[in-house]
């Protein structure tokens, strides 16, 4: 009896942990959010923060690891987005067929073709613009990594970079926020809700306006991210001889 109860308890424990493991493993759609924290990952400054002294070689090694992680994350996010878009293509096509059927009932062939073309162009523009915003954010991330490298070098020479570090954190947050918005925007499908032929232009215009407003909101966040990176650079540039400082063998303890 004891043996049976022991086996039952063991099964329960093992079963429980495996269920937990399954629950905590994110599925493909959830994974997208993981890539958003590319910039909020441990950066170079955090990595070498605890070090009392650091050699040039160690510094470069840490930097290479950070860059490598960022690159991996970028590739994974791009792949995730590509898969998502493949899924979306079928949905876009299905909605296009629905629109075509509705248009055939209410309007002329000429207007039907124009409305279909607008539908295609709206969804294509969304893809193109989200790709463009993603490119901009990736460039900003790379620049910020270089800024971090310069800041770390300045710091190892005993200069005060507290304000720069705060601005770096803010820039990372701004990029992360913009990236989240781009990710959400990239998953949207725009459809034209038809009412009557007389309202066709208004109905199509609504879809156009919706995309415009959504993209404008994302653009605002991307521009804010760019501005936040600019502010870091401006602050860093105020440090005298900032570009001449390098990791020295007798570097200052980092705090």
């Amino acid at each position: 009896m004891k043996k049976i109860s022991f086996i039952l308890v063991l099964i329960l424990i093992l079963g429980g942990t495996s269920v937990l493991a399954i629950q905590t493993r994110p599925n493909l759609s959830e994974r997208g959010s993981q890539f958003l924290s590319t910039t909020s990952q441990e950066g170079l400054l955090e990595r070498i923060k605890e070090r009392v002294q650091i050699s040039q070689q160690e510094f470069e090694q840490n930097r290479a690891e950070v860059k490598n992680l960022m690159e991996q994350n970028r590739i994974e996010f791009r792949n995730w987005l590509e898969n998502k878009r493949q899924e979306m293509k079928a949905k876009i096509e299905a909605k296009r067929n629905e629109l075509k059927a509705k248009l055939q009932k209410i309007t002329t062939e000429r207007k039907q073709k124009i409305a279909e073309r607008i539908y295609d162009r709206i969804n294509a523009l969304n893809e193109r613009m989200t790709d463009h915003y993603l490119d901009v954010l990736e460039k900003l991330e790379k620049l910020l990594e270089r800024v971090e490298s310069r800041t770390a070098k300045v710091k190892t020479n005993g200069r005060d970079v507290a304000e720069v570090e705060i601005l770096i954190t803010q820039a990372k947050e701004a990029i992360s926020k913009a990236r989240e918005a781009v990710k959400n925007q990239a998953q949207k499908i725009y459809q034209i809700e038809l009412t009557t032929e007389t309202n066709l232009r208004i109905d199509v215009g609504k879809a156009r306006q919706m995309l415009h407003d959504d993209l404008k909101a994302v653009e605002k966040l991307v521009k804010e991210a760019r501005e936040s990176v600019r502010l870091v650079i401006v602050k860093l540039a105020q440090i005298p001889k900032v570009d001449e400082l390098e990791i020295s063998t007798t570097s200052q303890p980092l705090q």
């Binding site: 124009i114 073309r117 463009h132 901009v136 991307v222 570009d243």
Partner: protein, 109 residues
């Protein structure tokens, strides 16, 4: 007789000229080695310069040093100036311009 005396006077007149000529010949004889010596020295100097010129021309191509840049222009990849320059190059597309084609279609409905 008269002819003899004439001959004698002519010889007497010619004698100093002959002596002068002989003197010149002797001086010439003593100057020849000096001249040869000078020519040799000139030949040596010329030979030295000629050899030096040949050596200069015979230098292998790879030994010719490239022109030294007047100022070091290589920027550090993480320098503030380089990063700022690249940031200025990042452009965000004009959204309204991207909507132009769609707007044309909407207006034609």
């Amino acid at each position: 007789m008269e002819e003899q005396t004439e001959q004698q006077t002519i010889e007497q007149k010619e004698q100093p000229e002959l002596k002068e000529l002989e003197g010149k010949k002797e001086r010439y004889k003593t100057n020849v080695p000096i001249l040869i010596f000078l020519v040799l020295i000139l030949a040596l100097i010329f030979g030295y310069f000629w050899y030096y010129w040949q050596q200069l021309n015979a230098l292998p191509q790879q030994l010719v040093l490239p022109p030294i840049p007047q100022r070091e222009v290589i920027e550090k990849e993480d320098s503030v100036s380089a990063v700022n320059k690249e940031l200025q190059e990042i452009e965000v597309l004009d959204l309204d311009q991207e909507f132009q084609e769609i707007d044309q279609d909407v207006n034609s409905l």
